[in-house]
Amino acid sequence: MTSLLYELEQVKQVYGSRTVLSIPALQISRGEIFALIGPSGAGKSTLLRLLALLEAPSSGSLRLHLDDRIVTCEDATLEDRRRVAMVFQRPVLLSRSVRQNIAYGLRLRGKRDSREQVEAMLERVSMLPLADARPHTLSGGEVQRVSLARAMILEPDILLLDEPTANLDRYNVSTIEALIRDQHARQGTTIILITHNIFQARRLATRMALLLDGELVEVGPTETLCERPQDPRTAAFVSGDLVY
């Protein structure tokens, strides 16, 4: 049984005089893999930062249903925020070893005796041989795997992924997609993923939403949006006709 996790109503995000995001209504359920698709500059990353409670919307309401409470960006405690983890499109690692980077979030939470947990995660993301390597010696795919590992090790309720496979080769794309599926299967983590790759959205997500120029065009089950889109812009995007 699914339950409501995020509830957005009349959410707008304005930077200066520019409205970068406008969402009349959007709901995301607990335990689903939800894809945000759309071209660059559509407002996908802005929406993800709002969902991560890193920014408050300029207007409207974004409510996160946690247990028996509803929290917003303004009243979320550090503990509430720690139930959400986000992986960025261009990850920045700390100038420490891969092992220390993966353990970072656990240390923040006071879990210092986490060696076994870190070793298991290193193994899971195939980074054990590079456990003591420094970030500047890693390839793009390796950096992205470390970034994913440092978020997954926290066992968050919600995992937000901003273009986790952008600019990666097929091997790394397939590895990261397998890790995402594995995380979802193991812990039932709600995963919200940004991608401009419609095929990736189809491979991973159960539902998806199309954003264009900051506007939410259509939301629905992935297959429905791909096979029977209601909006002509969705049809153009999924067929590849809408090129930015």
């Binding site: 930062r49 991560a52 890193l54 550090l78 925020r81 720690r82 959400v84 983890a85 986000m86 960025f88 261009r90 990850p91 920045v92 700390l94 100038s95 420490r96 070893s97 220390q100 970072y104 979030g105 923040l108 939470r109 003591d132 420094r134 440092r150 978020a151 926290l154 937000l160």
Partner: protein, 198 residues
């Protein structure tokens, strides 16, 4: 030096991370402070601490306290300025990424400072260098009194004036050695913290 460090590092971090009205003006003032002529600082502190000055009652003129005040004024802007630019040079996206992993504001600031550690250490080296090489201000406010306010630099000036060039040179070498040992310690710390991440 400790006082300049205690004031300078937190202020440098604060200026690097906070945006508020007047921040640019404050930054320009800090940069101006980085180039303050020490003798002008000495004159300012002298006037403040002289009997007719606002802090004359403290009786600090020609004491170590006056020298500490002057040297803190000289070194603090250097440490603030270098700390600020070092923290600002850390990838601005890092803070948000750490917050997205559950870091509190303090934890994120600490991590940013750690990432900027080499720059901050350089700031401390510059601050230390400005203090140990300083003559004008300490001479003015300390008075170069033997056994009380005479330091290596002012002693070198005195011995040179007396024509004791050998002794002045020996003091100069001692000064250089102190600076070298301190800087070697900093380099060792840099190497150790650098190797931590390997």
């Amino acid at each position: 030096m400790a006082l300049a460090m205690i004031i300078g590092i937190p202020l440098g971090i604060w200026l690097a991370l906070r945006h508020f009205p007047g921040r640019r003006l404050l930054t320009a003032l800090i940069y101006t402070g980085m180039g303050l002529p020490p003798v002008v600082v000495g004159l300012f502190v002298f006037l403040m601490l002289s009997r007719s000055g606002p802090f004359g009652d403290l009786g600090w003129l020609f004491t170590m306290n006056a020298m500490i005040v002057a040297q803190t004024i000289i070194a603090t802007p250097l440490i603030i300025g270098v700390t600020m630019s070092s923290v600002q040079s850390v990838d601005p996206s890092l803070r948000m990424q750490l917050r997205a992993l559950g870091a509190s504001r303090w934890q994120a600031s600490w991590a940013q400072l750690y990432e900027a550690r080499f720059g901050v250490l350089v700031g401390l080296v510059i601050g230390f260098g400005s203090i140990i090489s300083e003559v004008g201000a300490v001479m003015l406010v300390g008075g170069n009194i033997e056994g009380r306010t005479r330091v290596l630099t002012t002693a070198i000036v005195l011995e040179t004036r007396k024509g004791s060039f050998d002794f002045a040179l020996a003091l100069g070498i001692i000064l250089l050695l102190i600076a070298f040992v301190m800087n070697m310690a900093v380099v060792a710390i840099q190497a150790r913290t650098g190797s931590d991440s390997q």
